[in-house]
Symmetry: C2
Subunit: 339 residues, 2 copies
DNA sequence: TTGAAAGCGCTAACAG
DNA sequence: CTGTTAGCGCTTTCAA
């Protein structure tokens, strides 16, 4: 049982291969009856065009690579779905590549993507280098990069940047409106670019809301629950105690929240807390966490759209886009207690 | 800047295309100097063989599709990594396909995989049908199916079955050894085949360990934390109260555990609890959960290996394999209290 | 309105 | 030991 080819269809329908091709692709007018004959032959034989043969001539595979750090990281779940959604609706399929935070592995994956002649790759792993992008580009495959602070990527490829300012400002404004004046911040490890960006956004937001960033109490977390615990210990020693705390991510915020409750504090009465990420868990803890939400699904969709854009329209050049974060108010923030 | 082809290399090296092909693939002997010339030409031109052209002649794409229900489901994370690991080490790339628990979408994804001429597809989504497998097979692409109880799949394709008996028996034996005689069970919705299988394994394990399954107290959960909460309410009303409880999955067990603690019970002193899945959270709750662990990474690796096996060796026919579950003893189980 | 034929980039007989 | 040539299955001029 061998493959049914366009030649088989042509013979069966008593026409030429090119006619068959044209009815399939609707790429030139075909007399109604001949078209019908062709369609019938296709049906009877159960013919399906070979994507490979098509790719060989069109130089397009309708496939893309998605480079991420780790499928287990909840950040990526919705991103992946967003990517997949627009990919599927455009006839694209996507190769999933986990770097496991390993640059060598990342490069290997990139090479295998190039070998497969993907039309483009979405760089979403923080474990990536400019070299990877260059390698991809050198092999005529397009790239869209989620901005992790690599200098100069925007010269090479389309980039997508997450703007933390908007959400962070909303958060600080929200707290100030609730009467908070002493707002603490739990940062991530400042060796990470993202932690830096988020902290900067916080300082910025303070300034914009009439608070002196220099006076803000900065605690050191590690982006995990446990870092939030530790930050709470620092918090206790601070005088005066901030009435509200903003954390670099939800896990940190939750760690702080749990530690505070363990210590007998009542939230949000004794202290308000704001997270960042809006992970699933955020709405499930008690009290549900007010948090700065990343539009993860949108990031996925947008990135894939940008890729399609540049594939279909290389002439238009690289695009740089931004997605905004936004505040989700739940119950972990409240009006500051009267003294 | 157009693609460098094998012809370019041949010209530059002053040999024929076939010679170039043969040095690349090491598929026939080539005089040392000519080989060197070819290699040099390849280097100078930065030539990379076109996977597409190769696929067209070899009828192999070195790609596979992985059909899952939902990337957000933690079950899949390690599975995906296992699949990817063996795929990568064999030069394969894998298309990730999320059905989102939707059969229509699943079929669409399958079609797109067929269009891409994948060599095989891994059916790991519980939202799948025999028709999907047949569709794939009809188009000469191989299939490996994670066993979700679809009758007759093993006739069509290689299957991988998770054997819950082993782990469940170990669990019950463990509890019996600790002196437990009254063991309750929190099942999932029995409309789900997997819930059924797990419950059967529990009954079986009871019988094997000299307990009367008919007397076991069965509570109804929903595979989520909240179902564990509700099950605890039932548990309280039971007379005599079981001294140990086995749950259909970890989330349920954790729900039960939290509810018990809320109610003032001390675990594992007042009641022992065993989960199933060994999710991340299991080792992080207090007390860390004793649980029946699924070899997720192994499932991924094995499935991909089986796929490669059947691709490389269709003559050998479909294989049916099983992976065993095993007990991970932590601190949520203890000797039954003296009366 | 349709067909013939060249060619996408590679592999693998078949010759020599 | 190496080259010639015929495809793999499709699209797309060019001609009719």
């Amino acid at each position: 049982m061998k493959r049914v080819t366009i030649t088989d269809v042509a013979q069966r329908a008593g026409v030429s291969k090119s006619t068959v091709s044209h009815v399939i692709n609707e790429t030139r007018f075909v007399e109604v009856d001949t078209r019908l004959k062709v369609l019938q032959a296709i049906g009877e034989l159960g013919y399906r065009p070979s994507g490979i043969a098509r790719s060989l001539v069109s130089q397009r595979t309708r496939t893309a690579g998605l480079l991420i750090s780790d499928v287990g990281n909840p950040f990526y779940h919705e991103v992946i779905m967003g990517v997949e959604e627009v990919a599927l609706s455009h006839g694209y399929s996507v190769f999933l590549c986990n770097t496991n935070y390993d640059l060598d592995r990342g490069m290997k994956l990139i090479q295998s993507l190039i070998d497969k002649s993907v039309d483009g790759v979405l760089f979403m792993s923080s474990s990536m280098t400019i070299e990877m992008v260059q390698e991809v580009l050198k092999n005529q495959v397009y790239a869209v990069v989620l901005d992790w602070g690599n200098a100069g990527v925007d010269q090479l490829a389309s980039t997508l940047t997450i703007n933390f300012d908007k959400g962070t400002q909303d958060a600080v404004r929200h707290l100030v409106a609730l009467g908070h004046r002493e707002i603490g911040y739990i940062s991530g490890p400042l060796s990470l670019w993202t932690a830096q960006v988020r902290k900067d956004a916080f300082f910025c937001a303070c300034a914009e809301n009439g608070l002196d960033p220099e006076r803000a109490f900065i605690m050191q977390g590690n982006l995990r629950v446990e870092g939030g615990h530790r930050a709470f210990d620092d918090y206790l020693k601070r005088e005066p105690r901030p009435t509200a705390v903003v954390a670099a991510n939800d896990l940190t915020a939750i760690g702080f929240l749990l530690a505070a409750q363990d210590h007998g504090l009542s939230l949000p009465r004794d202290v308000s807390i704001v997270g960042l990420d809006d992970i699933d868990l955020a709405s499930r803890v008690t009290p549900p966490l007010t948090t700065i939400s990343l539009p993860r699904y949108e990031i996925g969709m947008l990135a894939m759209q940008m890729l399609l854009e540049i594939i279909d329209n290389p002439a238009r050049g690289n695009q740089q886009q931004e997605v905004a974060t936004s505040l989700v108010v739940r119950e972990s923030t409240a009006r500051v207690a009267e003294v």
